[in-house]
């Protein structure tokens, strides 16, 4: 509108420059440090099969963490994920009792996950209830159903070809779960960072009102995110049930907090609006390495959760301490 229009550059910093200064870079350094510490601490660590075993510590949780990352970026949360695993695993166990084969089991596992996700999504987006309350409720509900169905019983007798999902190897030490983890990481990375849907997720997380006023169908996007989180819990249920070969109602107990920890450690803002999938991938490795390294040193489980908790607080406090120290 004026004759001398000023040229505004696209960017001042290249995306690479931005990335180097990011949270993900810091986390990657932490991962390398832990890897080196582990290889000094235990002679058994630097072994292809040990490392392969170590990946089972995080693959199933990380699958859920990808969907949870999107959900938390959008400003919501799902604390019922571990309970969905229990319900999906119980449903698969019941299907086995009824004589179902592996393909049916897969459908039952995925279907249960989707139904649970849809139920959460309905309560949050249609009824307008806060997701933290809704999913604390469905956490008890879903696992409660498992307890009622199973009591102190155990479902076993899964068909032998069902074992592949949790115990199979695709190539040498590369397990099926690790491959699935990598594929899902790619899919979620593209979904969040390269599509219109991902852009909508960020917009909603930063300002739901502004997103609505910009023509984004906020409720629909959130519903899909709950659906995806349910679906991922279903996939995790298939892998975990296959790996254990049995279903108890206490399966995956407490995993929801580990998943949220992984997401937050990965640099996703718990208040929504920012974070990346590569961050979650690195966080998954960090948590897997720590758990495995401590396991090799025969550290009991309760101490491990203390270490993970301390790690979470430490990594989050570090940048703030750094800037406080620099400001002095």
């Amino acid at each position: 509108m004026t004759d001398t229009t000023r040229f505004i550059p696209d960017r001042l910093q290249s995306p690479l420059q931005k990335r180097l200064k990011s949270w993900e870079t810091l986390l990657l350094l932490v991962a390398v440090a832990i890897f080196m510490a582990n290889s000094f601490a235990s002679p058994y660590f630097l072994n292809a099969w040990s490392l392969s075993d170590a990946t089972f510590n995080f693959t199933e949780k990380a699958m859920i963490a990808f969907a949870m990352a999107l959900l938390i970026i959008s400003g919501e949360i799902d604390l019922s994920v571990a309970a969905i695993i229990a319900l999906a695993s119980t449903a698969m166990g019941a299907a086995v009792e009824a004589g179902a084969g592996t393909p049916v089991l897969i459908l039952v596992g995925l279907g249960t996950g989707l139904l649970c996700g849809a139920f959460n999504g309905f309560l949050v987006t249609r009824m307008g209830l806060p997701s933290i309350v809704v999913t604390i409720g469905t956490m008890s509900l879903f696992r409660g159903i498992s307890y009622i169905v199973l009591g102190d019983q155990v479902y076993k007798g899964y068909p032998s070809d069902f074992a592949f999902f949790g115990q199979g190897y695709v190539f040498w030490v590369i397990s099926f779960e690790l491959v699935l983890f990598a594929i899902l990481a790619g899919i979620y990375g593209i979904l969040l960072h390269k599509t219109n849907f991902g852009r909508a997720v960020y917009a909603i997380g930063n300002n739901p009102t502004g997103a609505l006023f910009s023509g984004i169908r906020v409720a629909r996007v959130k519903f899909i995110l709950f659906l995806l989180t349910g679906l991922m819990s279903g996939i995790a249920a298939i892998c975990l049930t296959s790996r254990l070969g049995s279903t108890r109602p206490s399966i995956a107990f407490g995993w929801e907090l580990e998943v949220v920890t992984m997401v937050v450690l990965g640099g996703i803002n718990i208040l929504g609006g920012s974070g990346t999938i590569p961050g979650v991938v690195i966080a998954a490795f960090v948590m897997g390495l720590v758990t495995f390294g401590l396991g090799l040193l025969n550290v009991p489980g309760i101490v491990m959760s203390i270490v993970i908790g301390a790690l979470l607080i430490g990594v989050i406090a570090l940048p703030r301490l750094w800037s406080m120290w620099r400001a002095r």
Binding site: T5, P9, D10, L12, K194, T195, N196, L212, S214
Partner: protein
């Protein structure tokens, strides 16, 4: 030194509180420019002025929320300053705001005494005394409220009485009422008038801020008029007529500030029929043509924004039909509205207009992602070029398109929001208070651009509370009052006086 010397009888009594030459500057705006105001004991002074005249700033200066940059505050003739709201409260200055800050979960007595509760042994709250004094104060203003009730159980009018009781609990000498009747029913307003009489009889000085002329002439003894942060005049209500007061409020030459434009009005693009809402508006209907700028004028709370948001699919009207290019269109969400070519630039930029934590280019392309992307996948190059095209047309000033919108000035943020909507290539653009709170330079840019859009055949609806803007930009003006269309004005009928009269219902 006061700017006006007066010969009226009231001058015999000295003012309790006076402002002399007060100036207050905010970045880019001179909110108060050497204003004076005098408040006399036992008298009601009405402060009148358009939106943006500086009334709220004066209230905040009197109550210690803002510190003036220049001028004197005189208390009983002696210069003083209020560094904090507590300082102002200590000398007995109290304000009842449009939307009073009260606490729903606390009792009536606690609300009245919050911050200055009577203390007993060990500094603990003396509940018995508090209860007794609350009862006394409520009785003195004729309120039938149990001080033990929780505030949330009270109706809006009773809440207002609690706010007044709270104001009186500090033994006020000066009571400021900022549009106190805005939320009250007719009967409640009568009760408020009686209360004002009671306060007058007690010798308190009252500053009464209102847009409603009938109530100003009903209860005020004196008036003071501000315009654009400047003092225009004051005097006794008995010496002035309504039309003189209106002239003082709006009288100024507005023509040269706005772009000269020749309207080329085309075919009808939008027709709205019978829009109703249970509480906010009723029976709204009008038509809009290409190339036309239709102004919507009214007082704050007249239902203009609420109606526009219904038209845009944010709130649901109970009934109403929208026709675009002659076809009935159902708009249930902003996404629907955008598809049909209707877009809305909201008044609240930070919350509704922009997503301040995201960069400029992402804000601009957000509603247009369908066009810049390919099968749902983002194409950044397309996004940057679309964002560049529209932000340059608006002469945006920014370091880069990757800068977060939150780091821009208000005027540049508004340019980003307008660019965002133009990028969708709409048929109808609704601008809600498009220049509110932005600097003069950006204002002119937005006005010039609005004229250019209309010249290109876009239909523009402009909601504005600023009379010069309405007069300077609109081809036609719809005036709304209390949720209804009061009148439609164009041509010679379109004057500041007619606007104010219809908006206030005189």
């Amino acid at each position: 030194m006061l700017m006006h010397t007066q010969t009226d009888a009231a001058a015999a009594t000295a003012p309790i509180l006076a402002l002399d030459g007060i100036t207050k500057t905010f970045p880019g705006v001179k909110a108060l420019d050497g204003v004076s105001l005098r408040l006399f004991p036992g008298q009601v002074t009405a402060l009148v002025g358009e939106n943006g005249a500086g009334k709220s700033t004066v209230v905040k200066t009197l109550t210690g929320i803002y510190q003036p940059d220049g001028g004197d505050i005189l208390l009983d003739g002696a210069a003083t300053r209020f560094a904090t709201p507590q300082d102002a409260a200590k000398v007995g200055i109290t304000a009842i705001h449009q939307e009073t800050v009260l606490f729903d979960e606390l009792s009536v007595a606690e609300n009245i005494f919050i911050g200055h509760a009577p203390r007993g042994k060990f500094g603990l709250i003396d509940w018995t005394t508090m209860q007794r004094r609350a009862t006394e104060i409520l009785r003195s203003i004729g309120a039938q409220i149990d001080p033990g009730h929780k505030l949330r159980d009270l109706g809006i009018a009773n809440k207002h009485l609690v706010a007044i009781a709270r104001a009186l609990s500090i033994d006020a000498r000066v009571v400021i009422m900022d549009e106190p009747t805005a939320a009250l029913s007719h009967k409640e307003i009568q009760e408020l008038y009686e209360l004002v009489e009671t306060l007058k009889a007690q010798g308190k000085a009252i500053l009464f801020i209102s847009h409603k002329f009938d109530e100003i002439f009903r209860i005020a003894d004196r008036y003071t008029v501000f315009r654009d942060g400047q003092f225009v005049g004051d005097g006794l209500i008995d010496d002035v007529t309504e039309s003189e007061l209106v002239k003082m409020m709006v009288g100024r030459d507005v023509s040269q500030v706005f772009p000269q434009r020749e309207s080329h009005i085309g075919d009808e693009v939008l027709q709205v029929v019978g829009y109703d809402h249970p509480t906010e508006f009723a029976d709204i209907g009008f038509t809009l043509r290409r190339g036309e700028i239709l102004g919507f004028y009214g007082l704050v709370g007249a239902g203009r924004s609420e109606f526009m948001q219904a038209l845009f699919g944010i709130t649901k009207p109970s009934k109403g039909v929208t026709k675009i290019d002659g076809m009935i269109r159902i708009i249930r969400s902003p996404a629907d509205a955008i598809i049909h070519g209707v877009v809305y630039v909201p008044e609240d930029r930070g919350k509704q207009g922009a997503i301040t934590a995201l960069p400029i280019f992402q804000n601009v392309t957000l509603p247009s992602l369908g066009r810049t992307s390919h099968r749902g996948f983002l194409r950044l190059a397309e996004e940057f070029s679309l964002a560049r095209e529209y932000t340059q047309r608006l002469d945006l000033r920014a370091a880069s398109l990757d800068t977060d919108v939150g780091n821009l000035s208000g005027g540049n943020q508004q340019k980003v929001v307008i660019a965002k909507w133009l990028a969708t290539q709409p048929k109808v653009i609704i601008l809600d208070e498009p220049t509110k709170g932005i600097d003069i330079g950006s204002k002119a840019a937005v006005h010039e651009f609005m004229a250019e859009l209309a010249a290109q055949g876009l239909a523009v609806i402009m909601v504005s509370s600023e009379i010069p803007e309405i007069l300077g930009m609109s081809d036609r003006v719809i005036v709304m009052r209390e949720g209804r269309i009061a009148t439609e004005l164009a041509g010679e009928d379109l004057t500041p006086e007619t606007l104010v009269r219809h908006a206030a219902g005189i």
